[in-house]
Protein backbone atom coordinates (compact mmCIF):
# COMPACT_ATOMS: atom_id res chain seq x y z
CA UNK A 1 0.00 0.00 0.00
CA UNK A 2 2.74 2.42 0.90
CA UNK A 3 4.58 1.31 -2.22
CA UNK A 4 1.49 2.18 -4.22
CA UNK A 5 1.25 5.58 -2.62
CA UNK A 6 4.92 6.49 -3.07
CA UNK A 7 4.66 5.19 -6.60
CA UNK A 8 1.70 7.41 -7.27
CA UNK A 9 3.40 10.35 -5.65
CA UNK A 10 6.57 9.86 -7.64
CA UNK A 11 4.63 9.61 -10.84
CA UNK A 12 2.72 12.80 -10.21
CA UNK A 13 5.86 14.55 -9.11
CA UNK A 14 7.65 13.53 -12.27
CA UNK A 15 5.00 14.85 -14.61
CA UNK A 16 4.79 18.06 -12.64
CA UNK A 17 8.53 18.51 -12.76
CA UNK A 18 8.70 17.87 -16.49
CA UNK A 19 6.08 20.54 -17.01
CA UNK A 20 8.63 23.18 -16.13
CA UNK A 21 11.36 21.85 -18.37
CA UNK A 22 12.11 23.42 -21.69
CA UNK A 23 10.48 21.33 -24.40
CA UNK A 24 12.79 19.37 -26.65
CA UNK A 25 10.67 19.93 -29.76
CA UNK A 26 12.43 21.25 -32.82
CA UNK A 27 10.14 23.75 -34.52
CA UNK A 28 10.45 22.24 -37.97
CA UNK A 29 9.98 24.75 -40.74
CA UNK A 30 11.91 27.41 -38.85
CA UNK A 31 14.47 25.18 -37.21
CA UNK A 32 16.00 22.25 -39.04
CA UNK A 33 17.95 19.36 -37.69
CA UNK A 34 21.34 18.76 -39.21
CA UNK A 35 21.05 15.54 -41.26
CA UNK A 36 23.53 12.76 -40.88
CA UNK A 37 25.63 12.07 -43.93
CA UNK A 38 23.76 8.87 -44.76
CA UNK A 39 20.25 10.08 -44.09
CA UNK A 40 17.81 8.04 -46.18
CA UNK A 41 14.75 9.70 -47.62
CA UNK A 42 13.43 10.22 -51.13
CA UNK A 43 14.33 7.32 -53.39
CA UNK A 44 16.03 7.60 -56.76
CA UNK A 45 17.04 5.17 -59.48
CA UNK A 46 20.63 5.63 -60.54
CA UNK A 47 22.58 4.92 -63.70
CA UNK A 48 25.76 2.93 -64.15
CA UNK A 49 29.08 4.65 -65.03
CA UNK A 50 28.29 4.18 -68.72
CA UNK A 51 25.07 6.12 -68.29
CA UNK A 52 22.69 3.19 -68.75
CA UNK A 53 19.84 2.47 -66.36
CA UNK A 54 21.14 0.31 -63.55
CA UNK A 55 17.83 -1.24 -62.60
CA UNK A 56 17.31 -4.68 -64.12
CA UNK A 57 13.72 -4.98 -62.91
CA UNK A 58 14.52 -8.01 -60.80
CA UNK A 59 11.61 -7.27 -58.43
CA UNK A 60 13.72 -7.82 -55.33
CA UNK A 61 12.99 -4.34 -53.99
CA UNK A 62 9.28 -4.75 -54.54
CA UNK A 63 9.40 -8.17 -52.91
CA UNK A 64 11.24 -6.97 -49.84
CA UNK A 65 9.29 -3.73 -49.40
CA UNK A 66 7.31 -4.22 -46.20
CA UNK A 67 4.48 -1.96 -47.38
CA UNK A 68 4.48 -3.15 -51.00
CA UNK A 69 4.78 0.33 -52.44
CA UNK A 70 7.05 -0.54 -55.37
CA UNK A 71 5.64 -1.92 -58.58
CA UNK A 72 7.14 -2.34 -62.00
CA UNK A 73 7.02 -4.29 -65.21
CA UNK A 74 10.18 -5.93 -66.43
CA UNK A 75 10.98 -6.33 -70.10
CA UNK A 76 13.75 -7.09 -72.54
CA UNK A 77 15.14 -3.94 -74.12
CA UNK A 78 15.88 -5.86 -77.29
CA UNK A 79 19.63 -6.22 -76.70
CA UNK A 80 19.28 -8.77 -73.89
CA UNK A 81 19.26 -6.05 -71.25
CA UNK A 82 16.54 -6.50 -68.71
CA UNK A 83 14.99 -3.19 -67.69
CA UNK A 84 11.80 -1.85 -66.12
CA UNK A 85 9.23 -0.81 -68.72
CA UNK A 86 7.68 1.23 -65.96
CA UNK A 87 8.64 1.57 -62.34
CA UNK A 88 6.44 3.14 -59.74
CA UNK A 89 6.94 3.99 -56.07
CA UNK A 90 4.04 5.18 -54.02
CA UNK A 91 5.72 7.49 -51.55
CA UNK A 92 2.41 7.92 -49.82
CA UNK A 93 2.98 4.42 -48.52
CA UNK A 94 6.76 4.25 -48.34
CA UNK A 95 8.08 4.19 -44.79
CA UNK A 96 11.62 5.00 -45.92
CA UNK A 97 12.96 1.87 -44.26
CA UNK A 98 15.71 1.39 -46.82
CA UNK A 99 15.08 -2.31 -47.30
CA UNK A 100 14.79 -1.80 -51.06
CA UNK A 101 18.21 -0.25 -51.21
CA UNK A 102 19.64 -3.11 -49.21
CA UNK A 103 18.01 -5.73 -51.44
CA UNK A 104 19.00 -4.18 -54.75
CA UNK A 105 21.68 -6.30 -56.40
CA UNK A 106 22.61 -3.64 -58.91
CA UNK A 107 22.83 -0.62 -56.58
CA UNK A 108 20.15 1.00 -58.71
CA UNK A 109 17.72 2.05 -56.07
CA UNK A 110 19.12 4.47 -53.51
CA UNK A 111 17.71 6.66 -50.78
CA UNK A 112 18.80 10.31 -50.81
CA UNK A 113 18.81 12.95 -48.06
CA UNK A 114 15.94 14.94 -49.57
CA UNK A 115 13.06 14.64 -47.20
CA UNK A 116 10.96 17.68 -48.05
CA UNK A 117 8.67 16.27 -50.70
CA UNK A 118 5.21 16.40 -49.21
CA UNK A 119 2.32 16.92 -51.57
CA UNK A 120 -1.25 17.96 -51.12
CA UNK A 121 -2.66 15.28 -53.42
CA UNK A 122 -2.10 11.61 -52.70
CA UNK A 123 -1.64 10.85 -56.37
CA UNK A 124 1.25 13.32 -56.56
CA UNK A 125 3.10 11.09 -54.14
CA UNK A 126 3.15 8.31 -56.71
CA UNK A 127 6.45 8.63 -58.55
CA UNK A 128 6.98 7.04 -61.94
CA UNK A 129 10.28 5.98 -63.44
CA UNK A 130 10.54 9.35 -65.18
CA UNK A 131 10.49 11.04 -61.78
CA UNK A 132 12.83 8.55 -60.12
CA UNK A 133 15.60 8.06 -62.64
CA UNK A 134 18.52 10.43 -62.14
CA UNK A 135 21.51 11.06 -64.35
CA UNK A 136 24.23 10.02 -61.93
CA UNK A 137 25.62 6.95 -60.26
CA UNK A 138 24.66 7.93 -56.72
CA UNK A 139 26.67 6.49 -53.90
CA UNK A 140 28.78 4.01 -55.89
CA UNK A 141 30.62 5.42 -58.88
CA UNK A 142 32.06 2.16 -60.24
CA UNK A 143 29.56 -0.66 -60.16
CA UNK A 144 28.06 -2.04 -63.32
CA UNK A 145 26.09 -5.21 -62.69
CA UNK A 146 26.38 -6.47 -66.26
CA UNK A 147 30.18 -6.61 -65.95
CA UNK A 148 29.66 -9.41 -63.46
CA UNK A 149 26.60 -11.18 -64.81
CA UNK A 150 27.11 -13.96 -67.31
CA UNK A 151 24.47 -12.99 -69.82
CA UNK A 152 26.80 -11.01 -72.05
CA UNK A 153 25.15 -7.64 -72.29
CA UNK A 154 28.00 -5.19 -71.75
CA UNK A 155 30.85 -7.51 -72.64
CA UNK A 156 30.33 -10.53 -74.89
CA UNK A 157 29.98 -13.92 -73.22
CA UNK A 158 33.20 -15.05 -71.60
CA UNK A 159 34.79 -11.59 -71.80
CA UNK A 160 33.99 -10.32 -68.32
CA UNK A 161 37.02 -10.02 -66.02
CA UNK A 162 36.06 -13.02 -63.91
CA UNK A 163 35.28 -15.38 -66.79
CA UNK A 164 37.14 -17.84 -68.98
CA UNK A 165 36.44 -17.64 -72.68
CA UNK A 166 33.50 -19.72 -73.88
CA UNK A 167 33.81 -23.50 -74.09
CA UNK A 168 34.22 -24.86 -77.60
CA UNK A 169 31.50 -27.47 -77.72
CA UNK A 170 32.78 -29.08 -80.88
CA UNK A 171 36.07 -30.29 -79.50
CA UNK A 172 36.91 -32.77 -76.83
CA UNK A 173 40.35 -31.36 -76.19
CA UNK A 174 40.76 -30.50 -72.53
Amino acid sequence: MSGLLTGLFEAFATTLREMFRKPVTIQYPEEKKPLSARARWRIVLTRDPEGEERCVACYLCSAVCPVSCISMQSADRGDGRRYPEWFRINFGRCILCGMCEEACPTLAIQLTPDYEFCKYKALDMVYEKEDLLIDGTGKDREYNFYKHAGIGVVNPKGKNPDEYGPVDIRSNMP
Partner: protein
Protein backbone atom coordinates in the same frame (compact mmCIF):
# COMPACT_ATOMS: atom_id res chain seq x y z
CA UNK B 1 -37.77 46.02 -12.02
CA UNK B 2 -40.83 43.89 -11.92
CA UNK B 3 -40.73 43.29 -15.64
CA UNK B 4 -37.71 41.13 -14.95
CA UNK B 5 -39.74 37.96 -14.62
CA UNK B 6 -38.11 34.95 -12.97
CA UNK B 7 -38.33 32.86 -16.11
CA UNK B 8 -36.55 35.49 -18.10
CA UNK B 9 -33.75 35.48 -15.60
CA UNK B 10 -33.59 31.72 -15.83
CA UNK B 11 -33.34 31.86 -19.59
CA UNK B 12 -30.68 34.51 -19.48
CA UNK B 13 -28.73 32.46 -16.95
CA UNK B 14 -29.13 29.33 -18.99
CA UNK B 15 -27.80 30.98 -22.13
CA UNK B 16 -24.96 32.62 -20.30
CA UNK B 17 -23.98 29.30 -18.82
CA UNK B 18 -24.27 27.50 -22.10
CA UNK B 19 -22.10 30.04 -23.81
CA UNK B 20 -19.50 30.20 -21.07
CA UNK B 21 -19.31 26.45 -20.59
CA UNK B 22 -18.95 25.69 -24.26
CA UNK B 23 -16.24 28.28 -24.65
CA UNK B 24 -14.57 27.01 -21.54
CA UNK B 25 -14.82 23.46 -22.83
CA UNK B 26 -13.13 24.48 -26.05
CA UNK B 27 -10.33 26.14 -24.17
CA UNK B 28 -10.22 23.26 -21.78
CA UNK B 29 -9.27 21.16 -24.79
CA UNK B 30 -6.53 23.57 -25.65
CA UNK B 31 -5.38 23.75 -22.04
CA UNK B 32 -5.25 20.03 -21.83
CA UNK B 33 -3.28 19.68 -25.01
CA UNK B 34 -0.85 22.35 -23.93
CA UNK B 35 -0.41 20.99 -20.42
CA UNK B 36 -0.05 17.44 -21.61
CA UNK B 37 2.48 18.59 -24.13
CA UNK B 38 4.48 20.45 -21.53
CA UNK B 39 4.42 17.47 -19.21
CA UNK B 40 5.80 15.47 -22.12
CA UNK B 41 8.42 18.11 -22.94
CA UNK B 42 6.63 19.31 -26.05
CA UNK B 43 5.04 22.60 -27.01
CA UNK B 44 1.56 21.50 -27.92
CA UNK B 45 -0.51 23.40 -30.45
CA UNK B 46 1.18 26.69 -31.17
CA UNK B 47 0.54 27.38 -34.80
CA UNK B 48 -3.01 28.80 -34.96
CA UNK B 49 -3.03 32.31 -33.57
CA UNK B 50 -0.68 33.54 -30.87
CA UNK B 51 0.35 30.63 -28.64
CA UNK B 52 -2.13 28.51 -30.53
CA UNK B 53 -5.02 30.35 -28.92
CA UNK B 54 -7.20 30.05 -31.98
CA UNK B 55 -6.69 26.31 -32.14
CA UNK B 56 -10.16 25.56 -30.70
CA UNK B 57 -11.69 27.64 -33.45
CA UNK B 58 -9.76 25.77 -36.07
CA UNK B 59 -10.82 22.50 -34.50
CA UNK B 60 -14.46 23.46 -34.54
CA UNK B 61 -14.28 24.56 -38.16
CA UNK B 62 -12.59 21.31 -39.06
CA UNK B 63 -15.15 19.22 -37.22
CA UNK B 64 -18.08 21.07 -38.73
CA UNK B 65 -16.79 20.80 -42.27
CA UNK B 66 -15.99 17.12 -42.03
CA UNK B 67 -18.25 14.55 -43.59
CA UNK B 68 -20.84 13.15 -41.24
CA UNK B 69 -20.62 9.44 -41.93
CA UNK B 70 -23.53 7.16 -41.27
CA UNK B 71 -22.42 3.51 -41.29
CA UNK B 72 -24.69 1.24 -43.31
CA UNK B 73 -24.91 -1.16 -40.41
CA UNK B 74 -25.94 1.53 -37.95
CA UNK B 75 -29.32 1.80 -36.24
CA UNK B 76 -29.93 5.18 -37.81
CA UNK B 77 -32.12 7.05 -35.34
CA UNK B 78 -30.32 5.99 -32.18
CA UNK B 79 -26.98 6.47 -33.83
CA UNK B 80 -27.89 10.04 -34.65
CA UNK B 81 -29.18 11.06 -31.22
CA UNK B 82 -26.63 9.28 -29.01
CA UNK B 83 -24.02 12.08 -29.11
CA UNK B 84 -26.77 14.53 -28.18
CA UNK B 85 -27.63 12.46 -25.14
CA UNK B 86 -24.05 12.54 -23.94
CA UNK B 87 -23.53 16.24 -24.45
CA UNK B 88 -27.07 17.14 -23.34
CA UNK B 89 -27.06 15.37 -19.98
CA UNK B 90 -23.72 16.87 -19.13
CA UNK B 91 -24.85 20.37 -19.97
CA UNK B 92 -28.10 19.91 -18.05
CA UNK B 93 -26.18 19.07 -14.91
CA UNK B 94 -24.98 22.64 -14.88
CA UNK B 95 -28.48 23.82 -14.07
CA UNK B 96 -28.00 23.18 -10.38
CA UNK B 97 -24.44 24.33 -9.85
CA UNK B 98 -24.15 27.51 -7.76
CA UNK B 99 -21.13 29.09 -9.25
CA UNK B 100 -21.20 32.30 -7.29
CA UNK B 101 -22.82 34.16 -4.45
CA UNK B 102 -26.40 35.28 -5.05
CA UNK B 103 -26.52 38.67 -6.70
CA UNK B 104 -29.05 41.40 -6.09
CA UNK B 105 -30.19 42.92 -9.36
CA UNK B 106 -32.70 45.68 -9.08
CA UNK B 107 -33.88 44.41 -5.74
CA UNK B 108 -34.35 40.87 -6.85
CA UNK B 109 -31.98 38.31 -5.40
CA UNK B 110 -30.79 36.16 -8.19
CA UNK B 111 -29.54 32.78 -7.12
CA UNK B 112 -26.62 31.63 -9.17
CA UNK B 113 -27.73 28.13 -10.10
CA UNK B 114 -30.11 28.30 -13.01
CA UNK B 115 -32.66 26.68 -10.77
CA UNK B 116 -32.25 25.93 -7.12
CA UNK B 117 -33.63 22.42 -6.87
CA UNK B 118 -34.16 21.16 -3.37
CA UNK B 119 -32.89 17.77 -4.57
CA UNK B 120 -30.00 19.15 -6.56
CA UNK B 121 -27.59 16.43 -5.48
CA UNK B 122 -30.01 13.74 -6.63
CA UNK B 123 -30.57 15.61 -9.87
CA UNK B 124 -26.84 15.49 -10.52
CA UNK B 125 -26.78 11.74 -9.87
CA UNK B 126 -29.78 11.26 -12.13
CA UNK B 127 -28.18 13.21 -14.95
CA UNK B 128 -24.94 11.35 -14.73
CA UNK B 129 -26.87 8.06 -14.85
CA UNK B 130 -28.65 9.26 -17.96
CA UNK B 131 -25.28 9.99 -19.51
CA UNK B 132 -24.64 6.23 -19.52
CA UNK B 133 -27.34 5.92 -22.14
CA UNK B 134 -25.44 8.08 -24.54
CA UNK B 135 -22.42 5.83 -24.32
CA UNK B 136 -24.29 2.54 -24.35
CA UNK B 137 -26.55 3.55 -27.24
CA UNK B 138 -23.74 5.00 -29.30
CA UNK B 139 -21.83 1.76 -28.88
CA UNK B 140 -24.78 -0.41 -29.67
CA UNK B 141 -26.17 1.50 -32.60
CA UNK B 142 -22.91 1.92 -34.52
CA UNK B 143 -23.01 -1.62 -35.82
CA UNK B 144 -19.32 -2.13 -35.15
CA UNK B 145 -17.76 -4.60 -32.79
CA UNK B 146 -15.34 -2.07 -31.40
CA UNK B 147 -18.13 0.35 -30.64
CA UNK B 148 -20.17 -2.37 -29.02
CA UNK B 149 -17.31 -3.37 -26.76
CA UNK B 150 -16.71 0.25 -25.90
CA UNK B 151 -20.36 0.81 -25.13
CA UNK B 152 -20.56 -2.26 -22.91
CA UNK B 153 -17.40 -1.36 -21.07
CA UNK B 154 -18.52 2.23 -20.67
CA UNK B 155 -21.89 1.38 -19.24
CA UNK B 156 -20.50 -1.26 -16.87
CA UNK B 157 -17.88 1.15 -15.65
CA UNK B 158 -20.24 4.05 -15.18
CA UNK B 159 -22.80 1.99 -13.35
CA UNK B 160 -20.12 0.65 -11.03
CA UNK B 161 -18.63 3.99 -10.20
CA UNK B 162 -21.92 5.77 -9.83
CA UNK B 163 -22.38 3.78 -6.66
CA UNK B 164 -19.25 4.98 -4.96
CA UNK B 165 -19.85 8.46 -6.30
CA UNK B 166 -23.33 8.55 -4.79
CA UNK B 167 -22.04 7.19 -1.50
CA UNK B 168 -19.25 9.72 -1.49
CA UNK B 169 -21.88 12.47 -1.67
CA UNK B 170 -23.75 11.21 1.38
CA UNK B 171 -21.38 12.75 3.95
CA UNK B 172 -21.76 16.15 2.32
CA UNK B 173 -25.52 15.82 2.31
CA UNK B 174 -25.48 14.59 5.92
CA UNK B 175 -23.34 17.46 7.01
CA UNK B 176 -25.48 20.04 5.23
CA UNK B 177 -28.74 18.35 6.07
CA UNK B 178 -30.06 19.13 2.62
CA UNK B 179 -29.98 17.93 -0.98
CA UNK B 180 -30.03 21.44 -2.29
CA UNK B 181 -26.66 22.52 -3.58
CA UNK B 182 -27.29 26.05 -2.41
CA UNK B 183 -27.72 24.76 1.12
CA UNK B 184 -24.67 22.58 0.85
CA UNK B 185 -22.59 25.55 -0.23
CA UNK B 186 -24.10 27.70 2.47
CA UNK B 187 -23.21 25.08 5.06
CA UNK B 188 -19.58 25.42 4.08
CA UNK B 189 -19.36 29.13 4.58
CA UNK B 190 -16.74 28.70 7.29
CA UNK B 191 -15.21 25.28 6.94
CA UNK B 192 -15.33 23.31 3.67
CA UNK B 193 -16.52 19.72 4.08
CA UNK B 194 -13.23 18.38 2.87
CA UNK B 195 -11.93 19.09 6.33
CA UNK B 196 -14.62 16.95 7.93
CA UNK B 197 -14.48 14.15 5.47
CA UNK B 198 -11.31 14.13 3.35
CA UNK B 199 -11.85 10.48 2.51
CA UNK B 200 -15.23 11.18 0.95
CA UNK B 201 -13.61 13.92 -1.13
CA UNK B 202 -10.90 11.55 -2.33
CA UNK B 203 -13.43 8.86 -3.21
CA UNK B 204 -15.58 11.43 -4.95
CA UNK B 205 -12.63 12.61 -7.05
CA UNK B 206 -11.70 9.10 -8.11
CA UNK B 207 -15.27 8.14 -8.92
CA UNK B 208 -15.77 11.32 -10.84
CA UNK B 209 -12.68 10.62 -12.89
CA UNK B 210 -14.09 7.21 -13.68
CA UNK B 211 -17.48 8.73 -14.48
CA UNK B 212 -15.88 11.03 -17.01
CA UNK B 213 -14.24 8.01 -18.73
CA UNK B 214 -10.86 9.65 -18.87
CA UNK B 215 -7.43 8.17 -18.46
CA UNK B 216 -6.75 6.14 -16.37
CA UNK B 217 -10.39 5.07 -16.67
CA UNK B 218 -10.81 5.38 -20.45
CA UNK B 219 -11.55 1.74 -21.06
CA UNK B 220 -14.59 2.61 -23.10
CA UNK B 221 -12.33 4.27 -25.68
CA UNK B 222 -9.04 2.48 -25.19
CA UNK B 223 -7.51 3.44 -28.56
CA UNK B 224 -5.03 0.64 -28.65
CA UNK B 225 -7.64 -2.05 -28.09
CA UNK B 226 -10.90 -0.67 -29.42
CA UNK B 227 -9.85 1.98 -31.95
CA UNK B 228 -11.99 4.63 -30.29
CA UNK B 229 -14.53 2.51 -28.46
CA UNK B 230 -18.10 3.65 -28.56
CA UNK B 231 -17.42 6.59 -30.88
CA UNK B 232 -15.28 4.72 -33.38
CA UNK B 233 -17.79 5.21 -36.18
CA UNK B 234 -18.60 8.84 -35.49
CA UNK B 235 -17.19 11.67 -37.50
CA UNK B 236 -17.63 15.38 -37.98
CA UNK B 237 -19.66 17.33 -35.50
CA UNK B 238 -21.26 14.25 -33.99
CA UNK B 239 -17.86 13.15 -32.91
CA UNK B 240 -17.37 16.75 -31.83
CA UNK B 241 -20.36 16.43 -29.52
CA UNK B 242 -18.76 13.48 -27.74
CA UNK B 243 -15.60 15.47 -27.53
CA UNK B 244 -17.26 18.58 -26.13
CA UNK B 245 -19.32 16.37 -23.82
CA UNK B 246 -16.15 15.00 -22.33
CA UNK B 247 -14.68 18.39 -21.60
CA UNK B 248 -17.90 19.96 -20.38
CA UNK B 249 -18.08 16.94 -18.14
CA UNK B 250 -14.68 17.74 -16.66
CA UNK B 251 -15.81 21.27 -16.00
CA UNK B 252 -19.09 20.17 -14.45
CA UNK B 253 -17.50 17.55 -12.31
CA UNK B 254 -14.79 19.90 -11.14
CA UNK B 255 -17.47 22.43 -10.31
CA UNK B 256 -19.41 19.84 -8.36
CA UNK B 257 -16.35 18.69 -6.46
CA UNK B 258 -15.84 22.29 -5.49
CA UNK B 259 -19.49 22.67 -4.55
CA UNK B 260 -19.71 19.56 -2.43
CA UNK B 261 -16.40 19.60 -0.65
CA UNK B 262 -14.34 22.70 -1.28
CA UNK B 263 -16.78 25.27 0.00
CA UNK B 264 -18.26 26.27 -3.31
CA UNK B 265 -17.89 29.94 -4.10
CA UNK B 266 -16.90 30.86 -0.56
CA UNK B 267 -13.60 32.57 -0.13
CA UNK B 268 -11.94 35.58 1.41
CA UNK B 269 -12.60 39.05 0.11
CA UNK B 270 -15.72 40.77 -1.10
CA UNK B 271 -18.72 38.82 -2.27
CA UNK B 272 -18.21 39.63 -5.96
CA UNK B 273 -14.95 37.73 -5.78
CA UNK B 274 -17.02 34.59 -5.20
CA UNK B 275 -17.09 33.90 -8.97
CA UNK B 276 -13.36 34.13 -9.03
CA UNK B 277 -12.96 31.76 -6.10
CA UNK B 278 -15.30 29.29 -7.63
CA UNK B 279 -13.49 29.41 -10.92
CA UNK B 280 -10.09 29.08 -9.30
CA UNK B 281 -11.04 26.08 -7.23
CA UNK B 282 -12.64 24.39 -10.19
CA UNK B 283 -9.59 25.12 -12.31
CA UNK B 284 -7.37 23.44 -9.75
CA UNK B 285 -9.49 20.31 -9.83
CA UNK B 286 -9.56 20.38 -13.63
CA UNK B 287 -5.81 20.72 -13.66
CA UNK B 288 -5.64 17.70 -11.43
CA UNK B 289 -7.63 15.71 -13.97
CA UNK B 290 -5.25 16.70 -16.73
CA UNK B 291 -2.27 15.99 -14.56
CA UNK B 292 -3.69 12.58 -13.82
CA UNK B 293 -4.05 11.92 -17.52
CA UNK B 294 -0.43 12.76 -18.12
CA UNK B 295 0.70 10.58 -15.26
CA UNK B 296 -1.27 7.40 -14.93
CA UNK B 297 -1.53 4.50 -17.34
CA UNK B 298 -4.86 2.93 -18.15
CA UNK B 299 -6.20 0.37 -15.68
CA UNK B 300 -6.86 -3.13 -16.79
CA UNK B 301 -10.53 -4.00 -16.89
CA UNK B 302 -10.41 -6.32 -13.88
CA UNK B 303 -8.38 -3.77 -11.92
CA UNK B 304 -11.02 -1.20 -12.71
CA UNK B 305 -13.81 -3.41 -11.42
CA UNK B 306 -11.82 -4.43 -8.35
CA UNK B 307 -11.07 -0.85 -7.51
CA UNK B 308 -14.73 0.09 -7.83
CA UNK B 309 -16.51 -2.76 -6.17
CA UNK B 310 -13.99 -4.18 -3.74
CA UNK B 311 -12.35 -1.00 -2.61
CA UNK B 312 -14.23 2.21 -3.23
CA UNK B 313 -17.76 0.99 -2.46
CA UNK B 314 -16.91 -0.62 0.92
CA UNK B 315 -14.67 2.27 1.77
CA UNK B 316 -17.30 4.87 1.02
CA UNK B 317 -19.89 2.89 3.00
CA UNK B 318 -17.53 2.78 5.96
CA UNK B 319 -16.89 6.46 5.51
CA UNK B 320 -20.61 7.24 5.60
CA UNK B 321 -20.83 5.40 8.92
CA UNK B 322 -17.73 7.07 10.25
CA UNK B 323 -18.77 10.56 9.24
CA UNK B 324 -22.23 10.00 10.67
CA UNK B 325 -20.75 8.72 13.89
CA UNK B 326 -18.29 11.58 14.21
CA UNK B 327 -20.93 14.14 13.33
CA UNK B 328 -23.21 12.77 16.05
CA UNK B 329 -20.38 12.62 18.56
CA UNK B 330 -19.09 16.09 17.99
CA UNK B 331 -22.36 17.79 17.07
CA UNK B 332 -21.16 18.90 13.71
CA UNK B 333 -23.80 21.04 12.18
CA UNK B 334 -27.37 20.04 12.07
CA UNK B 335 -26.97 16.30 11.99
Amino acid sequence: MNSCAPWLIIIIKAFLILFVTLTLAAYMVLAERKLLARMQDRYGPNRVGPFGLLQPLADVIKLITKEDILPTQADKFIYLIAPGVVAGTVLLTFAVVPFGAPVKIDGVTVQMPVIDLNVGALYFLAMSSLGVYGVALAGWSSGSKYSLFGGIRGSAQMISYELSMGLALVPAVMLAGSFSLNDIVAAQSRVPFVVYSPLAFAIFLISVAAESRRIPFDLAEAENELVAGYHTEYSGMRFGLFYIGEYVNIIVLSALAVTFYLGGWHGPGPLWLSFFWFFLKAAVIAFFFIWMRATLPRLRYDQLMHLGWKFLVPLSLANVLLTGFLALMFHWRNV
